[in-house]
């Protein structure tokens, strides 16, 4: 890396330039890759800003016999205006070489470019420079991606899957890679180990067919490929003509633990992904040991491996966007090594793409690792109150809110975000007996997203986010905080909302009606970890933030999308309270048939539109529903109120 890479280009940040006008001239997969890069927050259209360059020359398929083979890439690459012998360029390739020897060389001179290539071998892979790229199929989606199969099946012990070890695939009668697959029948037992091969492929298979072919084909036809994957605990992933195979990703998605038989294969993103936690590496030379190795793996290990396949699939592989971002993050981490995230973070939920190393260099500061580290979130919070109304009277709602918050035992600081044209009253007009420092922020509070700005004055893990005219009592504030301490990675609060699929409009919709489920908790009255402010501000691309700021709406929906996208968990609603601000008291009865005002209607339509904009951005609907709300232990129980800790909540 230090000899073939110009680090000086990256001093102004990690920006990636894509050579323009590639549309309609590249293959679908390459088009997806370039699109994902252009949509990422690292993209720049200014080559002068760029640290990394992505050629618009499709180098993915360099198999001369392939339909998608692109001729003469070398000339095209050298003609690129900033090529500079490939410095700071990435060359993507998934197929190189061809029948019969399938060499690993891509077949053209790529100079000093970084090679992001599938099916690399340990010896060809320049560790710390190249990227071992996954072999992506043509139908791999740009965003979102299929859920792992474990999410809709059983994660039980002993494994409820019918087969122990399975494989179904081609067998090559001759040539490279044929040996391993030709020997598989030795291990097949037709009971719990089902290894099926066929020689029936290619033009002239019947000419070359051997004595086993007919019998193999008969067995082969008895089983369905997909069903085998979903019904087997382990799945064999032998080499094909090349070291990697499409099967690898399919097996991971199916939550079938891969058993690799592909010596010297450098697994995808091996620089950061600890594959030993998700796959079983067997040795082609010791094929006959495979069944006993697989049988020696304990129930606990199976449970672990199986979940890890899903974690890796969902986090780094299930869409082209994830694959591309993973590639970029790896390269980025090499540039500022001292600012890169700990290796460990790549292999733990929620995964490295959700961890911005700029936030902190210790894991303890993130909301996700308290249990793993044996630590706990801090027992204090900072209240952040959003104020938009000028203050005339000492009885202003904001002051009442301040007093209620200040009475909490857990608050250390109150920050008022003053989003109002009229300046705040002078300090002597503010309540002076609060016993908690109050900080009024007036600068740079221009947009609604400023609510989520990671102000350096917020030093506690927890942020209690409130409206100026909040109706919450001190008990309610303290209780929600106490619940948050058990769920520090979630949004915990009062106003619950739901999303639902609108069958008529065929799109996602939003509702604030009371119901048995919810999937959002609005940030007008919620506690959450301050890391999410950092994520909101630094990870979301500008156009998504713009949607929010221009409409002055939907910031709370976006915040819920963001957190659920990272955690794959629902927020938590506490107690019965539904209305959380005074100004909303007038339209409490959303359930009553009182028609909505025009303004409300407009606000609501905007929110519906936001749902769909955000879903598009995340590539999937990340919100998760919950049927549970959390109440204080003795809530509404027939015991004396005096015995209850959160008495005010009883009377709400």
């Amino acid at each position: 890396m230090s000899s073939c890479f110009d680090f000086s280009l990256c001093e102004n940040g990690f920006k990636v330039y894509v050579y323009p006008s590639w549309k309609n001239v590249v293959s679908d997969t390459f088009s997806q890759i370039l699109t994902a890069i252009e949509q990422s927050r690292y993209y720049t259209n200014d080559p002068k800003q760029a640290c990394l360059f992505i050629p618009n020359v499709d180098t993915l398929d360099q198999d001369k016999l392939s339909h998608d083979f692109v001729h003469d890439v070398q000339t095209k690459l050298s003609a690129l205006p900033y090529w500079n012998n490939g410095r700071n360029h990435i060359i993507f390739n998934i197929f190189s070489g061809t029948w019969p020897d399938y060499t690993e060389n891509v077949g053209f001179d790529f100079g000093e470019a970084i090679l992001a290539k599938a099916s690399l071998s340990v010896s060809k892979f320049r560790y710390g420079f190249d990227i071992s790229f996954p072999l992506v199929a043509k139908d791999h989606v740009l965003k979102g991606g299929d859920k792992g199969y474990l999410y809709s099946s059983s994660n039980n012990i002993p494994s409820p899957r019918e087969y122990l070890l399975a494989f179904k695939g081609k067998r090559y009668l001759t040539g490279k890679g044929s040996e391993t697959r030709n020997s598989l029948y030795h291990v097949h037992n037709g009971k719990d180990v089902v290894l099926l091969t066929t020689c029936r492929h290619g033009k002239s298979w019947e000419k070359n067919k051997d004595a086993r072919c007919d019998e193999d084909n008969r067995e082969y036809d008895k089983y369905d490929y997909k069903k085998l994957l979903y019904n087997s605990t382990f799945c064999l992933v032998p080499r094909g003509r090349r070291l990697g195979s499409f099967r690898f990703l399919e097996v991971l998605q199916a939550a079938c633990i891969p058993v690799l038989l592909s010596n010297r294969w450098e697994l995808p993103f091996s620089e950061v992904i600890d594959w030993s936690k998700a796959v079983v590496s067997a040795d082609e030379r010791l094929l006959l040991q495979v069944p006993s190795i697989v049988r020696s793996i304990s129930q606990s290990e199976i449970l672990f491996y199986r979940q890890q396949t899903q974690f890796i699939w969902e986090t780094y592989l299930s869409s082209v966007e994830k694959i591309v971002l993973t590639t970029l993050e790896i390269i980025k981490s090499r540039i500022k090594r001292h600012k890169s995230r700990a290796n460990k973070l790549w292999n733990l939920e929620p995964g490295a793409l959700s961890i911005l190393p700029e936030f902190s260099d210790v894991m303890e500061k993130f909301p996700f690792f308290y249990h793993q580290l044996g630590t706990e979130p801090g027992d204090k919070f900072t209240a952040v109150i959003y104020a938009t109304t000028p203050i005339a009277l000492a009885s202003a709602p904001l002051f009442r809110t301040l007093r209620n918050v200040a009475k909490s035992q857990n608050v250390v600081k109150i920050i008022v975000l003053w989003h109002c044209d009229i300046p705040p009253p002078p300090s002597h007009k503010w309540p002076g007996d609060l016993g908690v420092p109050v900080l009024v922020k007036t600068r740079n509070i221009k947009t609604i997203s400023a609510r989520f700005y990671p102000f350096k004055e917020i030093e506690t893990d927890a942020i209690w986010s409130l409206e100026e005219d909040s109706l919450l009592t001190t008990d309610e504030i303290d209780f929600a905080f106490s619940v948050w301490q058990e769920f520090p990675e979630r949004i915990v609060g009062y106003p619950a909302r739901s999303h639902y699929w609108d069958e008529i409009k065929q799109r996602w919709s939003y509702t604030s009606k009371w119901s048995n489920e919810y999937s959002m908790v609005l940030t007008g009255a919620a506690v959450y970890h301050r890391y999410y402010n950092f994520l909101y501000t630094h990870q979301l691309p500008p156009e998504v933030i713009d949607t929010v700021d221009q409409s002055n709406n939907c910031h709370d929906i976006l915040f819920n999308f963001l957190v659920s996208h990272v955690t794959k968990l629902a927020p938590i609603k506490v107690t019965q309270r539904k209305v959380y601000q005074e100004s909303a008291l007038t339209n409490v009865n959303l359930n009553a048939s009182k028609p909505l005002s025009w303004l409300q209607q407009h606000h609501f339509t905007q929110r519906e539109q936001c749902m769909n904009t955000f879903t598009q951005h995340f590539g999937t609907m990340p919100l998760i529903r919950s049927k549970t709300r959390m109440d204080p232990l003795l809530f509404k129980d027939p015991v004396s109120n005096m015995r209850k800790k959160y008495r005010q909540i009883e009377t709400v």
């Binding site: 230090s2 010297r264 030993s276 090594r337 290796n343 048995n516």
Partner: protein
């Protein structure tokens, strides 16, 4: 990937530079020749190889004898150059290592072909022969270690050593042979690998560059410093204030780098730049360094700095790395392309700062970006790595073998956590770490423990049968004297009922992960819990689906610290907090039954079965300890057994019961050596509980009635 000389120098500079380089090299040579691994004339009996590999045998290799040697095969990988058939498959998943008997090699004129072995090399051989890896039988060996000391290339006649190796009985071009080397290359080009014809042998070497290192084949090892490693440094507490931010203490640094460092030193007095002492008497003293004329003790001075610079010299690997680590100083490694020791398994981002040579001038700026918390963690990590993997030649040798072992048996290899995590008591690894909600369609299995309360049991079964998500009822029949009644007399519930006859009346039987339980979710039920409504149970199942790694249930309890007795106390009053959910009516993942049955620590299971009590407390301990999470109580307080009953545990007759329960908590706490239970102040209710909302639109209406 890495260029040895990258900076472009003007011609006048380069002459100057060449001169300096010569001086530098001379100093380096001197240093290494004199102080590191000069063959020691140690007392022979200092090492009595416990397994005899000592012989007095002399092997004569004629100068004229034709011996075919093979240069180091740079294309070797684990799969191409290491023969695994002889490593075999065994239940211990441990490689066996053969050490060649110690012999002397002479030519026809009785001239020894090698210098005598160093003390360090003997320590390595000793460590290996003493270890579990060792075998005296070459026929069953996976790995072979020649008893030829190659630690320091300066002491080797390269050609002779190549010939000796090639003449070894099982050499076969070096396949499956492991060679240790710490000082490779020599002036002027300082190869980063020992320049002996080693063929297909695995090299455990210090100072590999990413170009010379055959990844997952060679092993990068630390450069051991015998001059320093024996020293006992004073022990300081963790928050010992350090005088310096950064120290550079290496001698004979490249002049160009030295200039940069001088500049840095001028800008920041927290950076101490040490060099040789002027007018130093001979012989030169390794343990003294100077700044101007002030003398500092080395390596003690390193203890006074947060970071220590480890800059490349002529060689990439520098003893300064181990020296810094021994002193608990965080190494700042500036050596492009250097393969850090044991980098295949150690996560150096946690213990060192790696800076590119081009960024040397920014080094202070870079280390100042590290937060105090991070620095503290790195210091601990440095100490952990040093003690475990660097502190002795034995540690280095055995770590090397373990790494190779993990390659041979990857499926039984040590984990990242084993290699890198400092053991800590309250750390958890949640076995159900994936944030998923099990599909509702699976349903749950009600597992009911019973002895002979048939009537009550049938009532419980009929009640739970009404719960829509019930998949199956498993009755654990704990009575050995009376058989369960025939299936025909059981209530018909439209769902399968399985009865399991146990062999012994043990409470732990309720937590056996029976194959009959096919769902992930178990509802543990006592045979007298008849008051739960089907809405409550169904809701409980829904809550469990949202928190599948927790114990989710109805009756709850609390543990409290009793200041007067200085012991834990069991509390069954209805309070504002809970920390346990009783398994008389609770949902949990079947995996915890598996853990309860197979890996409950200490004699907890025995205690439970002997006392016929506290199996539920034990389960709470197990789950809280595994996950670090509190259980979840569902829906309001309730009388679970019958409307007329008072809370059973409150009866004065049951006072002994309460005492025993408290005793259990204290016993289990001592077994776990920690109190894993966590208290929380909330319970789970349906979203619209107690809301004024049309019942027809509301789910789980029948919740909370006493």
């Amino acid at each position: 990937m890495q260029a040895l000389r990258k900076r472009h120098l003007t011609s006048s500079q380069s002459i100057y530079f060449l001169l300096l380089l010569t001086v530098v090299i001379l100093i380096c040579m001197m240093m290494l020749m004199v102080f590191v691994w000069s063959p020691s004339n140690f007392e022979e009996d200092q090492f009595r190889f416990s397994r005899s590999i000592n012989t007095n045998e002399i092997v004569t290799i004629h100068t004229t004898q034709q011996i075919k040697t093979l240069p180091r095969d740079t294309s070797c990988t684990f799969h191409t150059c290491l023969e695994v058939y002889q490593c075999g498959y065994n239940d211990e998943t441990k490689i066996s290592v053969y050490v060649y008997p110690i012999k002397s090699f002479e030519d026809e004129n009785s001239e020894e072909l090698t210098l005598s072995r160093s003390k360090e090399f003997d320590e390595i051989l000793q460590a290996i022969t003493d270890s579990d890896f060792y075998t005296s039988d070459p026929n069953t060996a996976c790995l072979f270690i020649p008893s030829v000391d190659m630690l320091n290339q300066n002491n080797l006649n390269l050609k002779n050593v190549g010939r000796i190796l090639a003449s070894l009985q099982w050499w076969k071009d070096g396949s499956n042979h492991l060679l240790f080397n710490m000082v490779a290359g020599s002036s002027p080009d300082f190869h980063s690998v020992v320049e002996v014809d080693t063929g297909r042998a695995v090299i455990a070497g210090s100072g590999f560059s990413s170009l010379s290192y055959r990844r997952i084949f060679d092993v990068s090892i630390p450069m051991f410093n015998p001059l320093v490693s024996g020293l006992q440094l004073p022990v300081y507490s963790n928050n010992h204030a350090k005088r310096y931010l950064l120290i550079s203490s290496q001698l004979g640094l490249h002049q160009e780098y030295l200039q940069v460092l001088r500049q840095l030193h001028e800008e920041d007095d927290q950076f101490l730049l040490l060099n040789t002492c002027p007018h130093h008497q001979k012989p030169w003293n390794y343990t003294q360094r100077c700044h101007n004329s002030k003398i500092y003790n080395y390596p003690h001075v390193l203890q006074n700095s947060t970071f220590c610079l480890v800059l490349r010299g002529s060689r990439l690997g520098q003893p300064a790395l181990s020296d810094a680590m021994q002193a608990g100083c965080i190494p700042v490694v500036v050596a492009d392309g250097y393969v850090m020791p044991f980098s295949e398994v150690l996560d150096w981002t946690r213990a060192a700062v790696e800076v590119r040579e081009d960024d040397l001038a920014d080094i202070i700026k870079i280390i100042k970006t590290y937060s105090p918390e991070r620095i503290q963690q790195m210091q601990k990590q440095v100490k952990f790595y040093y003690d475990k993997y660097f502190s002795s030649l034995k540690a280095i040798a055995l770590t090397t073998l373990q790494i190779i072992n993990d390659r041979v048996f990857p499926y039984a290899g040590k984990s990242y956590e084993y290699w890198n995590d400092i053991p800590k008591s309250n750390v958890v690894q949640n076995p159900l770490f994936l944030p998923l909600s099990p599909p509702k369609s699976q349903g749950f299995t009600a597992v009911i423990l019973t002895f002979d309360r048939l009537e009550s049991l049938f009532q419980v079964i009929k009640r739970v049968a009404k719960v829509p998500s019930l998949a199956k009822v498993v009755v654990v029949w704990n009575n050995q004297n009376k058989a369960a009644p025939p299936m025909s007399s059981w209530p018909y519930i439209g769902k399968p009922i399985k009865v399991i006859q146990t062999k012994k009346n043990k409470l732990s039987n309720r937590f056996v992960p029976y194959d009959e339980i096919e769902t992930e979710c178990i509802l543990a039920l006592d045979d007298d819990i008849i008051m739960l409504t089907d809405d409550e149970v169904e809701f409980g199942y829904e809550v469990w689906r949202e928190f599948p790694d927790r114990l989710v249930g109805f009756p709850s309890r609390l543990h409290l610290w009793d200041n007067s007795t200085q012991k834990w106390k069991y509390e069954s009053e209805w309070t504002n907090e809970i920390s346990m959910v009783l398994t008389g009516a609770a949902f949990y993942h079947k995996y915890f039954s598996y853990l309860y049955t197979n890996s409950m620590p200490g004699n907890m299971k025995l205690w439970v079965d002997d006392h016929m009590n506290c199996e539920d407390i034990a389960m709470n301990f197990l789950m809280a300890n595994m996950t670090g999470k509190a259980p979840i109580k569902v829906t309001p307080r309730k009388k679970f057994k019958c409307p007329q009953c008072v809370n059973n545990e409150m009866l004065s007759a049951d006072l002994t019961h309460m005492v025993e329960r408290s005793e259990c908590i204290n016993k289990f706490t001592s077994i776990y050596n920690t109190m894993p239970l966590k208290s929380i102040e909330f319970r789970a209710d349906p979203v619209l509980y107690k809301d004024n909302y049309p019942g027809i639109l509301k789910k789980f209406n029948d919740v909370g009635s006493l």
